[in-house]
C-alpha cells in the first residue's frame, strides 16, 4: 500500500520510546527485586549487622529518655520509690494501646509533668493529648506542648491546633473548662484510631521498635559481660585486646594444623585431636550447631510474626463457646453447600440422558405455534421442577388459549355472516328457463363476469353448452378449448400455406388433417413467441395428429400466445 497522504491537523500523544523506556525500567526493577530475593541469604549478614547497629541505637535513645523522665520525677519530688516504674508501665501500656512510640510518649509525659507537677494530672493530659493528636492528625509533641502552654495560661497555641474552640472560648474559659470541652470533643479518638488499619500498622511499628530496643540492650549487656566489666568504659580496650588475642589464636591454629598434617598417616585436621581444649571446643561447637538448628526451625516465628507482642487478653469461656459454635455452624453450612452443588451436578448430568427432556427440547426447535410453544415450555419447567417457570408458563399458556378461543369465535362469526357469491346463479336460472337467444346469453355473461367473446365459434360453443344444460362454468371451459382449437387450426393452415409444401387441407377447424403419406411419421413442432418448443409429438394417423394439435392448442393456453407470425408454427413430415 502506498503511503501518500497529507495530514491537515495532528495532536501529540507521546512517543512510543517513552513507553518502552518506562516498561524496560519496570522490568529491570522487577528483575532486581527477584535478584535481591535470590541473594537474600548472602546479603542477610550485612542486614543483620545493620539491624544490630540500629538496635543498639534504639536502645540508647530509649534508655536516655527513660533516664531523663526518671530525673524529672526526682527533681519534682514525685519519686516515691515506685513512681518511675508506674510511669514507665503507663507509657508501655499506652504505647501498646495506641500505637504511639514511647520515643514520643516519654518526652510528652516529661513535658506535662514539668508543667503540672502531678503524675495524675499529667496522665489525664497525656490521654487527652493522644485523643487530640488522633483527632486532628497533629503529632503528639505539638499537642502536648500546646496543652502544657495552655495549662500554664497561654491558650494561643491551642487555637493553632484547630480543635474547634473559638477565640472567645479560649480566652474567657479556664483551663479546666477547656479541658472538659476538649475531652468531650475528642472522646475515643485515640482508641478508634488504634483500631484502624493505620493504627494496627503503628502497633506493629511499636512492637518492632521494642524488639529492636530489647536486642540492642542484649548486645550491650553481652559486650559488658564479655569484657568482664561492670561498665562499658574499658570495653573498647578490652575489645581491642580480644581482637589481637583471637587473631593470634587463629594464627596458632594454622601453624598447628600445618604441623599435624606433616605427621605420617594423618590426612586432615580435626579440632577433636587437640587434647582437653579440643574436647571443650568440640562441645561448644556442637552446642552452637544445635542452637543454629533450633533457630532455623523457628525461622519466621519471631515475636512480631507470632503476634505475641500484642498481649491480647485471654478470651472468656462465653467468647470461646461462641467462637466454637460459629465454627460449627460454618462447617455445617459448607457441608450443605457442597451437597447442593453435588445434587445440581448430578441433575445436570442426568438431564443429558432424560428422553422426555430431549424430546421437549427437540420439539421446541421446530416450527410450532405460540400456544404449543408455551405448552412445551411448561412441560420443560415441570420436568426441571422449576416452580417459578411453571407459574410463568402456566399464565402464558392460559393467555394464549384465551386468545385462540377469541380468534376462533371471530372466524365462526365471519363464516356465519359471509357467503361466497355465485356470479352465475341468476344467469343459470334464466338459461334453464329457455326461450332466450344466443346473443342474449352472451350479453348476460358479459354483464355478469366481464367475459366477452370476439370469436363466433367460441360464442356458439358456449351457447350450445348452456342450452344443453351445462353450468355456465363448464360451458365456458368447453368454449375456451373450442376457441383454442380454432385459433390453432387457422394458424396451422396459414403456416402450411406459407411453407409451400402442403398437400394438407383442413376440412373444418378442429377436426384434424388429412395426411397423404399416412404411413410415414408426422412431427408437429409448435413453438411460442419466444422460440421455445411447446409440443413435439411424433404422430402417424390423422386422429393422432388431431389429438396432438388439440394438446398443442391446450399448451398454448399454458405457455402463452402463439403470436401473429406464421414462422412460429412449423411441422415436418
Amino acid at each position: 500500500m502506498s503511503n501518500i497522504f497529507i495530514d491537515i491537523a495532528a495532536t501529540f500523544t507521546g512517543e512510543k520510546a517513552f513507553k518502552k523506556a518506562s516498561n524496560s525500567t519496570d522490568k529491570l526493577g522487577k528483575s532486581v527485586k527477584s535478584l535481591a530475593k535470590t541473594l537474600g541469604v548472602g546479603l542477610s549478614a550485612a542486614a543483620v549487622l545493620s539491624y544490630a547497629k540500629a538496635s543498639v541505637k534504639a536502645y540508647a535513645a530509649d534508655d536516655n529518655a527513660a533516664r531523663s523522665l526518671g530525673v524529672t520525677l526526682k527533681n519534682l519530688g514525685l519519686e516515691t520509690g515506685n513512681t518511675s516504674i508506674y510511669v514507665n508501665d503507663l507509657i508501655a501500656r499506652l504505647e501498646k494501646q495506641t500505637g504511639v512510640l514511647d520515643d514520643e510518649l516519654r518526652p510528652a509525659m516529661d513535658r506535662l509533668l514539668r508543667a503540672t507537677g502531678s503524675v495524675t494530672k499529667s496522665q489525664d493530659l497525656l490521654n487527652l493529648a493522644l485523643d487530640i493528636s488522633a483527632g486532628t492528625g497533629k503529632d503528639l509533641t505539638s499537642v502536648s506542648q500546646a496543652l502544657q502552654k495552655a495549662y500554664l495560661g497561654n491558650n494561643v497555641s491551642l487555637s493553632k491546633l484547630g480543635v474547634g474552640l473559638s477565640k472567645v472560648e479560649l480566652t474567657s474559659s479556664s483551663f479546666e473548662k477547656i479541658q472538659k470541652r476538649l475531652a468531650i470533643l475528642f472522646a475515643g479518638q485515640a482508641s478508634t484510631a488504634a483500631e484502624s488499619y493505620a493504627g494496627q500498622l503503628n502497633k506493629l511499628n511499636v512492637a518492632s521498635n521494642n524488639v529492636k530496643e530489647a536486642i540492642g540492650r542484649g548486645i550491650v549487656d553481652a559486650l559488658v559481660i564479655l569484657a568482664d566489666n561492670n561498665t562499658v568504659d574499658n570495653l573498647a580496650t578490652d575489645m581491642e585486646n580480644l581482637g589481637v588475642y583471637t587473631g593470634d589464636v587463629i594464627r596458632g591454629f594454622g601453624i598447628m594444623a600445618a604441623k599435624i598434617k606433616e605427621i605420617p598417616g594423618i590426612s586432615g585436621f580435626d579440632v577433636g585431636m587437640i587434647p582437653v581444649l579440643g574436647t571443650y571446643i568440640k562441645v561448644l561447637q556442637e552446642e552452637g550447631a544445635k542452637a543454629r538448628r533450633i533457630a532455623d526451625a523457628l525461622k519466621g516465628k519471631n515475636p512480631i510474626q507470632s503476634g505475641t507482642y500484642l498481649n491480647k487478653p485471654k478470651p472468656t469461656k462465653t467468647e470461646l463457646d461462641a467462637l466454637a459454635n460459629a465454627k460449627k455452624l460454618a462447617a455445617q453450612q459448607a457441608a450443605q453447600l457442597k451437597l447442593q452443588q453435588a445434587a445440581t451436578k448430578i441433575s445436570a448430568a442426568a438431564a443429558k440422558f432424560d428422553l422426555n427432556k430431549i424430546q421437549i427440547a427437540a420439539a421446541l426447535k421446530g416450527k410450532i405455534s405460540d400456544e404449543d410453544r408455551q405448552r412445551l415450555l411448561l412441560m420443560q419447567a415441570i420436568e426441571n421442577e422449576n416452580v417459578d417457570l411453571i407459574d410463568k408458563y402456566t399464565k402464558s399458556l392460559a393467555e394464549a388459549q384465551a386468545q385462540t378461543k377469541q380468534l376462533q369465535s371471530v372466524i365462526d362469526a365471519s363464516k356465519a355472516s359471509f357467503v361466497w357469491p355465485d356470479p352465475f346463479a341468476s344467469f343459470k336460472l334464466q338459461a334453464e328457463a329457455a326461450g332466450t337467444t344466443v346473443q342474449a346469453l352472451v350479453d348476460k355473461v358479459k354483464t355478469l363476469s366481464g367475459i366477452s367473446f370476439d370469436n363466433s365459434t367460441v360464442m356458439t360453443s358456449f351457447a350450445q353448452g348452456m342450452l344443453n344444460g351445462m353450468s355456465a362454468v363448464d360451458a365456458l371451459w368447453g368454449a375456451r378449448y373450442t376457441g383454442q382449437g380454432e385459433m390453432y387450426m387457422a394458424r396451422l393452415a396459414a403456416a402450411s400455406r406459407a411453407s409451400n409444401a402442403d398437400n394438407f387441407s383442413f376440412a373444418t377447424a378442429g377436426t384434424g388433417v388429412a395426411n397423404p403419406n399416412m404411413n410415414t411419421t408426422t412431427i408437429i413442432n409448435l413453438t411460442n413467441d419466444f422460440g421455445s418448443s411447446i409440443v413435439t409429438d411424433p404422430v402417424a394417423t390423422a386422429n393422432q395428429i388431431n389429438t396432438a394439435l388439440q394438446q398443442a392448442a391446450n399448451q398454448v393456453g399454458t405457455y402463452g400466445s402463439l403470436g401473429s407470425g406464421s414462422k412460429s408454427i412449423s411441422y415436418t413430415v
Binding site: D7, A9, T11, G14
Partner: protein, 173 residues
C-alpha cells in the same frame, strides 16, 4: 506540515460521551473543508485514454508494476476524519487526505527524484501534469490540489475543531 492541536483527542472523546450530536457534527464539518481538495485532486488525474499506452490496465498484464486505471486512481484519492494511530514521533493525525492507489501514487510523485527519466519524460509528453508543492509535499494531483487550496482546508479544519470546543463548553456549562 500539519498544524498541532493540543487535546483534540480528549475533546473528541468528551464530545462522544457528553454531547453525541456535536460529536457527529464535527467530522461532517471537517469533511466539508476536505471534500473540495479531494474533488480538485481527482480532476487532475488523467483519463485512461490519455495515459501512456503501456501503462494502461490490461487483462493479462505482466510484471509487478501497477497498471493505471483512472477509476481506481480517482477512487484512491480520499479523506479521513477519524484520528490515526500515533506515528513514530507520537503524533496522531486528526484529518487526512490520502492518495491510496498504487498507480495514483506513482502518477502523483513521478518526477520528484528523477525528472529526466524516460518514464517521466514520456509521461510529461503525454499528459499535462504539473508538479506543485515542495519536497515531500510535491505532486501532480493531491499535493497540487492542496497547494492550490492555499491552506483554506487547514484553516477550516482547525476552525471546525475550535468551534466544536467552544460549542462543547457552552453545552456542558
Amino acid at each position: 506540515m500539519p498544524v498541532e492541536i493540543k487535546g483534540a483527542i480528549a475533546l473528541r472523546k468528551a464530545l462522544k460521551t457528553y454531547t453525541p450530536d456535536l460529536a457527529k457534527q464535527l467530522p461532517k464539518e471537517i469533511a466539508s473543508f476536505l471534500k473540495p481538495v479531494v474533488k480538485e485532486a481527482r480532476g487532475y488525474l488523467p483519463d485512461d485514454g490519455s495515459i501512456l499506452s503501456g501503462w494502461r490496465d490490461r487483462p493479462n498484464g505482466t510484471g509487478n508494476f501497477p497498471t493505471y486505471s483512472a477509476t481506481v486512481a480517482k477512487r484512491g484519492i480520499t479523506y479521513k476524519t477519524t484520528p490515526s494511530k500515533p506515528n513514530r514521533r507520537g503524533f496522531r493525525s486528526l484529518a487526512r487526505i490520502m492518495n491510496k492507489s498504487a498507480a495514483g501514487s506513482i502518477y502523483e510523485t513521478a518526477g520528484r527524484k528523477t525528472p529526466d527519466s524516460n518514464f517521466v519524460r514520456n509521461l510529461n509528453g503525454k499528459v499535462s501534469g504539473v508538479i506543485k508543492g515542495d519536497g515531500k509535499m510535491a505532486g501532480r494531483a493531491m499535493f497540487r490540489a492542496f497547494e492550490e487550496n492555499q491552506g483554506k482546508a487547514t484553516a477550516g479544519v482547525v476552525k471546525a475543531i475550535e468551534k466544536a470546543n467552544i460549542d462543547f463548553k457552552r453545552a456542558t456549562q
